[in-house]
Amino acid sequence: MNRRKFLHKSICASAGVLTLPMYSGAYSFDYHKDLIIGHNSHQYKVDMNWGKLDANKVPVQDCHEIIQDSKGRIILLTNHVKNNIIIYDKSGKLIETWGTTYPGGHGLTLSTENGEDFLFITDYERHQVIKTTIDGKEVMTIEYPADTGKYKNKEEFKPTETTILENGDFYVADGYGNQFILHYNYKGELLNIFGGRGIENDQFLNAHGICLDARNQESPVLLVTAREQNQLKRFSLDGTYLSSIEVPGALICRPVIHKDEIYFAVLKSRGATQNNSGFLLIMNDKNEVISCPGATKPLYKNNSLAELYQTIKLFQHPHDVCIDEDDNMYVAQWNSGQTYPIKLIRV
């Protein structure tokens, strides 16, 4: 210890003793311990105030989904029709808002085409999928697939998510509707329909989220969450069922791939007695659960994962996550008292 440090310490110590009775409130050494959530390689500090805005000016209802655009901005979709789209910078500063016509705005996916960003919004109240420019101009609308004979009327079509391939093809998950996965080409022409409601391997109860998994570029697959079944299902691009990954206890929303991992918001713990029992879940490149921020540590016994459940009252109903280039995470929540997104800082 050098002389300066020694002097500083000893003076502080003696003054601390002498002044303690009078100044104990002002100079007490507060007990600070930043909460760290998550397990193994994926642990985070929590900034609840990151996306907080003036609710009178920029209100939110459910914060359904959150993504990052090519410019690095963080884009939130809420079903509040004063401002369906809220755009932040990474520090949480509001950049702009737009959108007043998405009362059931639920799914939000980025599509970058020849360097230009577009958004795919699913709206379960409009019973449509809408493609917009990044500043909100609608360029394509997908109606319910009447010609397939799988739908009696548009009300049966309640799309929750989309995922887009490099060639412009896209898939729609009808997670609140008839549980089909619909495959379209870039023009919006229907190429294929598969899935549907049921408990068979290739069917779904709440096909809530979908994403393209191109981590293995040789053989890209589709990942679809069957939320009520606590399963992530893998399909080939032509709609053939491949396998299921069990996540006992976790109502996983949509898969989000970042680097080699898959991230999920978990809406609720299946067996929870408390309301607001959500958490987050991260799988590694082998699709094994490695971290559950806000919940039990993932443990495998004989290759099967023990039931996961929330352990601390931090998240309410996480509904989507977005991971930026610094590996920090942004969490949007459904039905959580009109709260704004939370930022998690990787530690």
Partner: protein, 275 residues
């Protein structure tokens, strides 16, 4: 010297404050001490004790410790420390709560155990079962099986209008009390019982009311819990006619205000002095 000391003290105050400011920089991160544990997860073999049962409490978080009481009081860190599954041989109420050095303690959660009641010869329903939640049919309420917090577990009868049934015993017998188990899950519009009326008959033909029955408190906020009401009977009887009414208008604080609520019951337990 005094002057030197005052300067040193001021310097220290400045310097200490500066350090504390530095830690304030991290104040935008959630602090562990401000976060509450989730209540322990409770698993039981059966809450109706035929011969014996057991209870397990879990909160799989490093350094979390669970304490419990058996007298209905709220556990603290001087209560019984939970270590292993507890075996249960007599009725009672077990209350659990989790503690941790860094986090706020959890809420308390309790579970009640009941003796198996006397067997019922028959139960005749005067109202139809609801098609959506018929439980296990006519005998759901007297099959010796309690439900869980999952209202779809098949042990729950769900109704949206008054439920009336006549229960008959093998012989005339002394019934001391009846336990009526019900569920509260306000998120799913399942509310407590609104009214209960019970008539008894010793000859199996003529009925008399058993007397005043205490009212169940109205539900004032969101909750999910297993509930039970014990109603004193203290009569010799052969038959009982039991009418249980659901909440006819959900209170104003709830999104379903004005609508009828669901009433979910899992079991009626008829206690004699011996059971």
């Amino acid at each position: 010297m005094r002057c030197v000391f005052v300067i040193a003290a001021l310097l220290c105050m400045y310097s200490c404050k500066k350090n504390s400011n530095k830690s304030d920089l991290s104040d935008h991160f959630v602090q562990t001490k401000d976060v509450q544990l989730v209540n322990p997860k409770i698993e039981t073999k059966s809450v109706i004790i035929d011969s014996s049962s057991s209870i397990t409490a879990l909160l799989d978080l490093d350094q979390a410790v669970i304490y419990y009481t058996t007298d209905g009081s709220e556990p603290d860190e001087t209560s019984n420390k939970y270590t292993n599954s507890i075996s249960i041989s007599k009725p009672g109420k077990y209350t659990f709560k989790a503690f941790h050095l860094d986090f706020k303690p959890s809420d308390a959660i309790d579970v009640s155990f009941f003796n198996k009641g006397v067997d019922v010869r028959s139960i005749a329903l005067e109202t139809a079962l609801n098609k959506q939640y018929p439980g296990k049919g006519q005998n759901t309420l007297v099959n010796g099986e309690k439900g869980t917090l999952n209202f779809r577990d098949g042990e729950w009868l769900g109704v949206t209008e008054p439920f009336i049934a006549i229960v008959e015993f093998d012989d005339v017998m002394y019934i001391e009390s009846i336990d009526i188990g019900y569920l509260v899950n306000t998120d799913s519009w399942i509310f407590p019982i609104q009214d209960i009326s019970i008539d008894f008959s010793e000859d199996g033909i003529n009925y008399m009311p058993i007397g005043p029955i205490k009212k169940i408190e109205k539900q004032e906020s969101n909750s999910t819990k297993l509930e039970n009401i014990n109603i004193s009977v203290s009569k010799r009887l052969k038959k009982m006619k039991i009418k249980i009414s659901n909440v006819t208008a959900i209170p104003k604080w709830h999104q379903g205000k004005g609508n009828p609520a669901w009433l979910f019951m899992d079991e009626w337990i008829f206690n004699t002095q011996k059971n």
